[in-house]
């Protein structure tokens, strides 16, 4: 007698129902946005305030994976925590082995293969999250999305979670507005946000979340992570050349950006 412990089995029409269901969980989750700039990647999420009594500071929405990689999610936060733990372990193991943190592609491939395993292994269910990963490849910024199926893409800018379609449309419109000299159709396919600054990108992200997500946008309801090159000899960094660094914005920093948009 053989048993099949897999919950992710093919439907007659050739789809994996559990993955579709996992994506539905993602679409229910709070909106997350990411933009790739010339030397930066900004990722952010709008924290849904279920109750005014919740202390949002206790939640980790934007997670630091290692010095040069950060990620944000839409979907089930407990599932995200598991992926963050796995990603951090992957990054540290890579560093132990190679003496440096992994490039974004490598981490993404490994995280995506973890996600894939959870669609095929016995006794498990897929992760109920999509994640946006900010990192560097070959010294250039990269923004990746990884889905519950293990599918991954590289984006110039994107949104996931609740209202993601609306948010993506906003980003498309916004890039047209930012670079008006190009015909929008061409801009959409060629350059996106590559001419903008880090502050521009943060502004765009906040505007997108303001416009497209539910509820009020304040420093308490936003979580923003920025990946850039930190100047040498800062924060115990002994290197003489700029090194990649991923940081979460503090509340006061978010407040400053909000003020600029007001």
């Amino acid at each position: 007698m053989s048993y099949n412990f897999s919950l992710t089995t093919f439907l007659k029409k050739g789809e994996l129902g559990q993955i579709g269901n996992a994506l539905a969980a993602v679409r229910k989750g709070h909106t997350s946005v990411g933009i790739r700039g010339k030397n930066t990647v900004v990722i952010a999420t709008k924290i849904s305030d279920e109750s005014a009594l919740v202390d949002n500071d206790s939640l980790e929405h934007v997670a630091i994976i290692c010095d040069n990689i950060g990620m944000v999610y839409s979907g089930l936060s407990p599932d995200f925590r598991v992926l963050v733990a796995k990603a951090r372990k992957i990054a540290q193991e890579y560093k132990l082995d190679m003496g440096e943190y992994p490039p974004a592609t490598i981490l993404v491939k490994k995280i995506a293969s973890v996600c894939q395993e959870f669609t095929q292994m016995g006794g498990v269910r897929p992760f109920g999250v999509s994640i946006l990963i900010a990192g560097f490849d070959d010294g250039k910024p990269s923004l990746y999305q990884v889905d519950p199926s293990g599918l991954y893409f590289r984006w110039k800018a994107t949104a996931i979670g609740k209202h993601y379609e609306k948010t993506k449309e906003f980003l498309e419109r916004r890039q047209d507005a930012l670079i008006p000299k190009y015909p929008s159709r061409v801009v959409k396919t060629i350059i996106h946000t590559e001419e903008t600054t880090e502050a521009d990108d943060i502004g765009t992200i906040i505007s997108a979340l303001k416009e497209c997500s539910d509820g009020e946008v304040t420093e308490n309801s936003l979580s923003i992570g920025v990946l850039n090159f930190s100047p040498p000899n800062q924060n115990f960094n002994t290197s003489t050349v700029p090194v990649p660094s991923f940081k979460r914005l503090s509340k006061s920093e978010i407040r400053e950006h909000l003020a600029l948009l007001a």
Binding site: L96, D97, M98, G99, E100, P103, I106, D138
Partner: protein, 204 residues
Amino acid sequence: MSITQYNGSAIVAMTGKNCVVIGCDKRLGQQALTVDMNFEKVFRVKDKLYVGLPGLATDVQTLHDRIRYRVNMYDLEEERAIQPDNLAHMISNMLYQKRFGPYFCEPIIAGLTEKDEPYIMGMDLIGCLSSAPDFIVGGTASDNLYGMCEALWEPDLGPDDLFRSASQALLNAVDRDAMSGWGAVVHVITPEKTETYHLQGRQD
């Protein structure tokens, strides 16, 4: 006698101005008995990255195989050329994984970085890395090589002069070491090309 001296070996790596050299002797012995006169101990990893493996010959071959396996996997997974410092870390880890039953081999890495800066690194048989700005030596003739290199090395040598210094260091060092010798191989690594020279030495 230590098991690292069973087969005999001599390896030297030196830095120059925008270039590095790494060379080895060709002898393979079983204690005083010479078995092979064409046993090279420096291996190409990439065009501008070489690894020298002085020590017990069986471990030299096994380590070379394992390094090649790891580097090939790296190529496929990362689709980029492995850098010298990453290779050094990788090998160091490989050795430390066998902390209590080590490979009897003390690898030396020599190459040019992405920016064509010279890079040399040595380590002990359990992977303790040691870097030097000038030269790294290893094998049964290491004392002799230290003496030679200390006298011959100077900063900012061009590829030709660096080749001459390394070759003289190797040949004269192995001539005073019974366990190594029988000619030498020297690889001269420059940003444009890597050239390999086979040197005639004493055949005794």
